[in-house]
């Protein structure tokens, strides 16, 4: 252990991670489990075949309260917040004035509030940003007292059928307050693995009891951050800090699906958000784009990692890898990266330069592994 690790924050499940033999690493200012003794590969496969329990308590949870909260949040995101139905969840993007992505987040319309889940490394900056821009229009209430667990995998629903049958009413991207063994939880049917699954917000003091109850179910194994990364990449999901950042717009990041029509040019509530000029300009004039995020897959079994350079068949640099690894499910290299728009079409052949050697890759549709969300 280095001296720096003593400054790290811990989640309410820290003692449980150590008890389960986790290898702990610094992540977003926290000491977090990167893997348990079973190892990344076994944990990845377990999540795809059964159910994995992830501690994501380092992520930020907050509430926006007040009658103007939804309209106010629309000033910070190119997303339809006001039109989101009760107990429905949506993916959103906080933007800066240049249209760069400050963070990506999930939010739920709970009626009495908007419940936001943001990235751990960004949460302090997010809260300050939201407070600064819309703090006079609604209450911004951080929830550091809450822990967050994710139960992910094809057998996650079978587990909840046993311990929280009321949660089975949920479909993908909806939420509900549910008690589990007397513990008050707020459950959404969502996650970041591409599998059916649930994210469970729970009071920190009761998080360990809940985690022990879930881990006692035969389908459930603890899963670390290592497998969380390989699972999300197979699902084609962006990692903030790798695949998007403040210098990337949602259009460049191929996240235009998250920008509903109502906020686009010609929509009923078009624009009016930070970065609107830049983002709507790119949406209205796609020819101005200089790069675009794509998925890539290689046929040779050589892992291609960030920041490998992508070259065209003439040896000119046309892009860069932002996330890459050997897919445990496909046993092939998969990656996300940015390329010049001329090279963004599916099946375009490129070379990733790995230790000076070209590895042939093809632009590919994502997700790399089919998602299994429960849409009811």
């Amino acid at each position: 252990m280095t001296a720096a690790t003593t400054d790290l924050l811990t989640t309410p499940l820290h003692a449980l991670h150590l008890e389960k033999g986790a290898r702990m690493v610094p992540f977003a200012g926290y000491s977090m489990p990167v893997q348990y003794p079973a190892g990344l590969m076994a944990e990845h496969k377990h999540t795809r075949e059964a159910a994995g329990l992830f501690d994501v308590s380092h992520m930020g949870q907050l509430r926006l309260v007040g009658p103007d909260a939804a309209a106010a949040l629309e000033a910070l995101m190119p997303v339809d917040v006001q039109g989101l139905g009760l107990h429905k969840q949506r993916y959103g993007l906080l933007l800066n004035e240049a249209g760069g992505i400050l963070d990506d987040l999930m939010f739920v319309n709970r009626g009495e509030d908007l419940f936001l889940i943001v990235n751990g490394a960004c949460k302090q900056a997010d809260i300050a940003h939201i407070q600064q821009h819309i703090g006079q229009r609604c209450q911004v209430i951080p929830m550091p007292e809450q822990a967050l667990l994710a139960l992910q995998g094809p057998q996650a629903a079978a587990v909840l059928r046993r311990v929280a049958p009321a949660a089975l009413e949920l479909v993908f991207m909806t939420g509900k307050a549910v008690e589990i063994a007397g513990i008050p939880c707020y459950i959404t049917r969502s996650g970041y693995t591409g599998e059916d699954g649930f994210e469970i917000s729970v009071p920190g003091q009761q998080a360990e009891s809940l985690a022990r109850l879930l881990l006692a179910q035969p389908e459930v194994a603890p899963i670390g951050l290592g497998a969380r990364n390989s699972l999300r990449l197979e699902a084609g999901l962006c990692l903030y800090g790798n695949d998007m950042d403040t210098a990337t717009t949602p259009v460049e990041a191929a996240l235009t699906w998250a920008i509903q029509k109502v906020r686009r040019s010609g929509g009923a509530r078009a624009g009016g958000f930070l970065g609107a000029d830049a983002v709507l300009g790119q949406l209205d004039h796609p020819s101005t784009l200089t790069r675009r995020r794509v998925g890539l897959i290689a046929t040779e079994r050589v892992p291609v990692r960030e920041p490998a350079v992508l070259e065209n068949l003439d040896g000119q640099q046309v892009g860069i890898i932002t996330s890459g690894l050997l897919s445990p499910t496909l046993n092939q290299p998969i990656a996300l990266g940015y390329v010049q728009p001329d090279y963004a079409d599916a099946d375009t052949e490129l070379f990733a330069m790995v230790r000076g050697k070209p590895v042939p890759m093809k632009v590919a549709a994502t997700p790399f592994v089919p998602t299994r969300y429960h849409r009811g």
């Binding site: 893997q35 190892g39 990344l40 590969m41 290592g226 892992p303 990692r305 445990p328 230790r355």
Partner: protein, 124 residues
């Protein structure tokens, strides 16, 4: 004892005086996690001690394999290339990386014995 260890977490077995066998240590493979790929040098290539002669990758990370001694590669482990998980399951045996003809046997004196290496690895 004919096995010595480097600070870069390689082992070298000089029981066969014609061709020393080099691999990564139990500690190294444990730190890397599930090994999924190895990049091995060309037979006939020569390296100085400290040069990068290969790469070992897990899903989560890539690590260089350094030459603990100066020498020429005389054989690489094609079985390991086909099944990189041998670096995890049998790092000191079937998971060896390559064999080297030593240029200067005295370089072995700069490497660690097992007890000293284990103490070193505990703290690194």
């Amino acid at each position: 004892m004919s096995i010595k260890f480097s600070k870069e977490h390689e082992w070298i077995n000089t029981a066969d005086t014609n061709a020393a066998v080099i691999g990564i240590t139990v500690h190294a493979q444990d730190a890397l996690g599930d090994v999924v790929f190895v990049d091995l040098p060309e037979v006939g290539a020569s390296f100085n001690a400290g040069d990068v002669a290969g790469v070992v990758e897990s899903v989560k990370a890539a690590a260089d394999v350094y030459m603990p001694v100066t020498g020429e590669i005389v054989e690489v482990n094609e079985v390991l290339r086909a099944d990189p998980s041998l670096a995890n399951t049998d790092p000191l045996g079937a998971g060896w990386f390559f064999k080297v003809k030593l240029a200067d046997v005295s370089q072995l004196d700069g490497l660690m014995e097992e007890t000293a290496y284990n103490a070193f690895a505990q703290n690194n």
